[in-house]
């Protein structure tokens, strides 16, 4: 193995991944029964057991094993006209727990990644304030700061599925979401530092990128739990996540979490910017449209098994795993159905249960090898639970694009492969 002939390429197609998964399954089966003379991986001394590996500092910034090279963000090229205003997807089916590693948090840009030297970055607060202020990054790091775990979901997550099942893989159907721990200054402290005038009712964060992204946020939310964050998972924000500074608007649609944050204006009316009029408004069947649909509703998806992560081990013990989140607060319960929503079992939530954060759930079953129609249904502390996709269509039609939190169905076949389907 010293010559490291590993053929795994990050560009493996879904189908070849699928085949690879099944092939592994066969190999794993062979391991299950001891062969005569014993498993050579045990009976023979392996290179890594004999020769020295690389020393410290060979990898000053550690990266995942080369055997994990397929665990990457992926995009859907036909979705958008140019990659600088586009989106890619978190590989949810490869993850566990509740935290998304920084390098695979999905990206959504409207004018490409702004590359900013933090020494050149400024944050301005202006508008209906007593004293308009300019902060350097150094200034911001002298305010009291907080650490909070939050999910961030694009309002368009699952948006391609309004008309029916279209994409085979939870990375594509549900991957516009990630969850990290943010370190930042409460927006409230910065607004108080400038002094808010009594008629101030709205704030508008603005980005320093080539789209100069802007969104109107009501003052109540700004003073409640918004953060101005400079770290994610303990290290500086990644450039594609807004380095050096971004808004954190817990539980609300990802578009409002302005990246490369350079300005916060305070006003008495909303600004009705492009991203809250022409986009991120929900067109209903009657031609009218909802605006200011900020909260992300309760949602969940089974990540394993799923189309990109078929069952490779045959019947017997099977861990069904997934994630759930809600912009209203904590997830209190996730139910799982094996028969397309006729009967439900309550899954086990494991790991931290934090408001407006990702939750991890498991249902451990003994699979008999028959077809399954897997669904999950999340319930939040507000008492809301996920509707079916058809219930959503009855209420909204098929042209909303945004806020599709309908229950997802995976068809698990006897051979372990999985397909994205819709059911009666």
């Amino acid at each position: 193995m010293s010559d490291k002939t590993v053929s795994q390429s990050p560009n493996l197609s879904r189908r070849s991944l699928l085949k690879a998964g099944l092939a592994t399954g066969v190999a794993a089966g062979a391991v299950g029964t001891a062969r005569a003379g014993g498993d050579p991986l045990i009976t023979e001394i392996q290179d890594w057991n004999r020769y020295l590996g690389e020393g410290v500092q060979a990898r000053p910034y550690g990266m995942p094993s080369e055997y994990e090279a397929h665990v990457v963000r992926r995009d859907v090229e036909w979705l958008t006209a140019s990659t600088e205003s586009s989106i890619n997807f978190t590989p949810l089916h490869e993850l566990d727990g509740i935290i998304t590693p920084n390098g695979i948090c999905f990206e959504r840009h409207h004018g490409g990644i702004a590359e900013i030297n933090p020494a050149d970055h400024r944050l301005m607060i202006n508008g209906l304030v007593d004293t308009p202020l300019v902060f350097t990054m150094e200034d911001l790091k002298r305010f009291p700061r907080e650490n909070r775990v939050y999910f961030l979901e694009c309002a368009a997550n699952s948006g391609m599925e309004w008309r029916g099942s279209q994409l085979n893989g939870c990375q594509y159907t549900h991957g516009m979401v990630h969850c990290v721990v943010y370190t930042g200054v409460p927006l409230k402290l910065l607004l108080e530092e400038a002094g808010i005038k009594t008629n101030a009712k709205w704030v508008m964060p603005e980005g320093a990128d080539a789209s100069a992204m802007t969104r109107s946020i009501p003052m109540e939310k700004a003073l409640d739990d918004c953060l101005v964050a400079f770290k994610m998972n303990g290290e500086a924000l990644r450039p594609e996540q807004g380095y050096p500074l971004r808004m954190v608007v817990p539980g609300w649609e990802g578009n409002m979490w302005v990246k490369w944050l350079r300005r916060i204006e305070v006003g008495d009316e909303p600004w009705h910017q492009r991203e809250e009029t022409s986009k991120y408004t929900d067109l209903l069947e009657n031609g009218k449209a909802r605006r200011f649909t900020w909260v992300m509703d309760p949602k969940s998806v089974i990540t394993n098994p799923s189309p990109q992560a078929p069952i490779s081990h045959g019947k017997g013990p099977l861990v069904i795993s997934g994630v759930a989140w809600s912009g209203n607060g904590r997830i209190t319960r996730v139910d799982v159905s094996l028969d397309g929503g006729r009967n439900w079992k309550t899954a086990r939530i494991d790991g931290p249960s934090l408001p407006k954060a990702m939750h991890r759930f498991y249902l451990d079953i003994d699979w008999d090898g028959s077809d399954l129609l897997l669904q999950s249904r999340a319930m939040d502390e507000h008492g809301y639970y996920q509707p079916t996709k058809n219930e959503l269509r009855v209420s909204r039609g098929e042209n909303s694009i945004y806020h599709n939190n309908g229950i997802q169905t995976w068809h698990v076949k006897a051979d372990g492969t999985v397909e994205n389907v819709e059911v009666s």
Partner: protein, 371 residues
């Protein structure tokens, strides 16, 4: 730098001099990469580059104009190639200074690079992706270490990160007061009530010229949209259709959003390059394309801006998802025998499989999108 190094690099430079003198690409490729950001919305370069609005630019040097397969050039560009135009440093420099002056009828809407340095630098950058240029670059690179060393020394003298200072007032006394000119530079947002509108004006006719030069390449001559770029005009009375067309005229509630957005983010890849009057003219032209004004002499200004209402303004309402039946009745969801009959599969992703890596994903776009 030590005397030894100086002598060495000097020696190398002299040795390389005859070649360097003949080398075509004098610009700074690193600076050129920054300049290329202006081009990136329409052109790709580098490994795996594909045609976008403009052709991919790998191996552009040494290539006959209008000759690459799979890209639909303007007739003018193909004709130029037939007449013998080959891209090299000189021809490319002339073209980039003023594309339409050199090739009348080119599809490239870009107005041109005003600075000679930008032209030289972006050419040097593109040359790094051209094998015809690579030979020259390689010869030249032996002389590069001396220059690199100079640059590195210089960069050590960069100004230090701004430190934090305290002030009187506030709770923590952090930050400093923003100057009026700083606020004016960044605070360019416009509200539906006209708050923020700059003094200025522009006519439909002026807007048409600006639109043709700056916008039509992506949005189409009549706002119909090229490929998946946004459609800006038309779509009236389609919002309740199976395939609604959401344009400025059919969907957007406020005209202020048009002015605000064009001024802050357009043209795509060259934001903040239009004057306030230009933006008035373009906004006026977009009203014309949407049949909201019908006079080419119409002039939009800060004076008459708020008189104009977009037709769909009344059709937006505040979030009322709470009232949808599936949310209104909170409570215990059904746990067993929730459906009378065995569940049937009604739809499969494989029928219209557009998953990346699947056979026909490029035929895709069956429905939905991130918009």
């Amino acid at each position: 730098m030590s005397k030894f190094l100086k002598a060495l690099s000097l020696g190398v430079s002299i040795a390389a001099l005859p070649v360097v003198a003949g080398a075509a690409f004098a610009g700074d490729a690193a600076q050129g990469e920054k300049v290329f950001k202006k081009c990136r919305a329409c052109h790709a370069v580098g490994e795996g580059a594909k045609h976008k609005v403009g052709p991919e630019l790998n191996d552009v040097f040494g290539r006959t104009a209008g000759s690459i397969d799979g890209f639909k050039y303007s007739k003018a560009m193909i004709a130029a190639g037939n007449e013998g135009l080959v891209w090299d440093e000189t021809t490319m420099a002339t073209y980039l200074e003023k594309p339409k002056a050199m090739i009348k009828g080119t599809k490239m809407a870009f107005a041109g690079l005003k600075k000679d340095d930008d032209v030289a630098n972006v050419i040097a950058y593109l040359a790094t992706f051209s094998s015809a240029a690579a030979a020259k670059e390689e010869e030249q690179s032996s002389a590069a270490p001396a220059a690199d060393a100079e640059t590195q020394t210089a960069s050590a003298d960069q100004p230090a990160a701004p430190v934090s200072a305290t002030r009187d007032g506030g709770v923590f006394g952090l930050g400093r007061e923003a100057l009026p000119e700083e606020i004016a530079a960044w605070d360019i947002d416009i509200r539906p009530d006209g708050a923020g509108l700059p003094v200025g004006s522009g006519t439909v006719a002026d807007g048409e010229v600006l639109y043709t030069d700056n916008c039509a390449v992506c949005h189409g001559d009549f706002g119909e949209g090229v490929g998946r770029w946004p459609v800006l005009a038309g779509g009236h009375d389609t919002l309740a259709d199976e395939r609604p067309e959401k344009t400025i005229g059919s969907y957007w509630p406020y005209l202020s959003t048009v002015y605000d957005y064009v001024r802050r983010a357009m043209p795509y890849g060259n934001a903040r390059s239009l004057s306030d009057d230009d933006v008035y003219a373009l906004t006026a032209y977009l009203l014309y394309l949407n049949d909201i004004v019908d006079d080419e002499d119409f002039e939009l200004s800060n004076e008459n801006f708020t008189d104009i209402r977009l037709p769909n303004e009344e059709n937006f309402f505040f979030d009322d998802r709470d009232e949808e039946p599936h949310y209104a009745q909170k409570g215990e969801p059904c746990m067993s025998d929730c459906k009378a009959d065995a569940v049937k599969i009604t739809q499969r992703a494989r029928i219209l499989d557009v998953t990346p890596g699947s056979v026909d994903d490029d035929q895709a776009a069956a429905g939905g999108g991130v918009d």
